[in-house]
């Protein structure tokens, strides 16, 4: 079959542009420790972590329709589990990060069992309440510093590399791996038959169930998977900060509101959306961070503006006009 009503050169051009953009971005990011200053590198680490958070929230809300405003539960649990494993378990930094991701995914099973009793807006509020319960619960654990939190001992950070520059390079490549892995994971899932089913759920849950997709089980699996990966990013974010407190770890503002902004602005239900949203969010933050409250008001105004112009977000708007996809998942007959 041919691309009807399009000239044959358009898909080829788009494919070329995609390869160029993705290849260029990968090259720039992979070589960052060699050209970026210390501050830029720290910013990129944070942006790559946010990219992972945004990809996961997008997979959850954009494809399976589970609008959770309680993802800070998994950032916080990931962070605290990582600190606990690294400090008391004596496990290396990278294995501790991975173990905390799996641990959080396991905790997400009973959490989801509870949250899945609720639908729509009730689910959203329910996830938030559950996250608050985790925050209050963690604050009771005196071994983890209770309400005032705990710092990561210097020798644990030092175990990554002796010198500061080397340590930051290792840290950067962990962030780079988490960020790119989140994109590849989502892309891989969407290209599989499960991705086909998730896209079907995105478009009509009723029809997806009717043609044989066990929507409840699939949504639950996605919830658990995204919880684990969110925890991985969370663990890393607090490794970078070297200190964790219940309020910072379970912050709805930092780990859900900003992520929601990123995904909705960029384009819900697309892989490109969270990438564009992350770039925009950090660019905005760099420009406007010292404007105080005005910066948050500007962000809100941009979100409202984009929604009024096109609720599919920036990438949704571009894709609808050009049919372009940086991460093609189309299956053609």
């Amino acid at each position: 079959m041919t691309m009807i009503a399009h000239t044959q050169s358009k898909p080829v051009l788009q494919f070329g542009a995609s390869v160029l953009i993705l290849g260029g971005a990968l090259l720039v990011l992979a070589s960052a420790p060699f050209w970026a200053g210390r501050a830029e590198l720290r910013l990129l680490m944070e942006a790559l972590s946010y990219l992972a958070l945004a990809q996961m929230w997008n997979l959850l809300a954009g494809y399976t329709g589970l609008v959770s405003v309680g993802q800070q539960a998994f950032v916080g649990l990931g962070g605290y589990l990582f600190f606990a494993l690294a400090i008391f378990g004596g496990i290396g930094v990278v294995p501790a990060l991975i173990l905390s991701a799996f641990g959080t995914a396991i905790i997400a099973i009973p959490t989801g069992w509870l949250a899945f009793r609720l639908n729509g807006a009730y689910f959203a509020i329910g996830t938030w309440v559950i996250a608050e319960v985790y925050r209050l619960g963690v604050a009771q654990v005196s071994a983890l510093g209770g309400g005032s939190g705990i710092s990561l001992p210097v020798d644990i950070a030092r175990s990554l590399a002796e010198g500061r520059a080397e340590r930051e390079m290792v840290m950067y490549y962990i962030a780079f791996a988490i960020g790119t892995a989140s994109v590849l994971l989502v892309w891989g899932i969407l290209k599989s038959r499960w991705g086909l089913a998730m896209t079907a759920i995105r478009d009509s849950e009723l029809a997806a169930e009717t043609i044989g997709v066990n929507t409840r089980r699939l949504k639950f699996s996605v919830y658990v998977l995204t919880a684990g990966f969110t925890a991985l990013a969370g663990g890393f974010l607090f490794l970078q900060k070297l200190r964790i407190t219940p309020d910072a770890a379970f912050s709805v503002n930092d780990w859900t509101a900003f992520v929601l902004f990123i995904v909705v602005i960029g384009g819900l239900g697309t892989i490109e959306g969270p990438i564009i949203g992350t770039i925009l969010f950090f660019a905005l933050r760099q420009v406007a961070a010292d404007w105080g409250t005005w910066y948050l008001m500007l962000m809100g105004a941009i979100a409202i503006g984009v929604m009024l112009m096109d609720k599919r977000g920036i990438w949704g708007w571009i894709a609808a006009r050009t049919g372009w996809s940086l991460f093609p998942t189309r299956r053609l007959l």
Binding site: T199, S204, T210, I211, G212, T215
Partner: protein, 244 residues
Amino acid sequence: MEPLLRLTGVNKSFGALTVSDNVTFDLPKGQALGIIGPNGAGKSTLFNLIGGALAPSSGMVMFKGQDVTAQPASARCRAGIARSFQIPHPFVGMTVFENLLVASSFGGAGHHDAREACHDILERTGLLPKANRPAGSLTLLERKRLELSRALATGPELLLLDEIAGGLTEAECHALVETIQAIHASGVSIIWIEHIVHALLAVVDRLIVIDFGKIVAEGAPRAVMADPMVQEIYMGISVDDQAA
């Protein structure tokens, strides 16, 4: 022989409103059954109860000798029940082919070659030229054909068709009847809800009339249509349709 589908005393009420009232019938394997009745008589509800979108308040649904009353719609689809919705629910962000592909990989089909199976179905329903178009770009008529194609892609033994001929021209209706006859001839059992009675009568072996959630008449199509009570209800339909 054991019937393909058996409904025993199926009731469904929403509060004080009874939408399915003690419905009992058998569908022998290979039969094409037509269901008629006025708007709001509970025909689509009956499909929701057979397909699993709704759970009955009481009663039992058996499919191929298995009690499926407690099974969700997805499990019933994998067992061999497919349905088309009265109001089409296409996956608008996917292509027409992908709409069928997801049905064929998650339904009960077990196609040897899913691509080829989808290709054949699209050819049969006339959607092949649109295979790689986004489903969101289809016209209402094409969306209805997509409903039918997607249901077929699940590889059903029982096909539930909900007012698929509504809004079609005479020629389109004729083509649709031929398609459904061919599907029936290939061994698929059919239950078809339809207001366009002449289309229905060209296909079905048996007719059930539903009013206020109850079966009020059933039997051979011509005999049922000749029943004065049915004619009164049916005339009611025509008047309603014209008013709408």
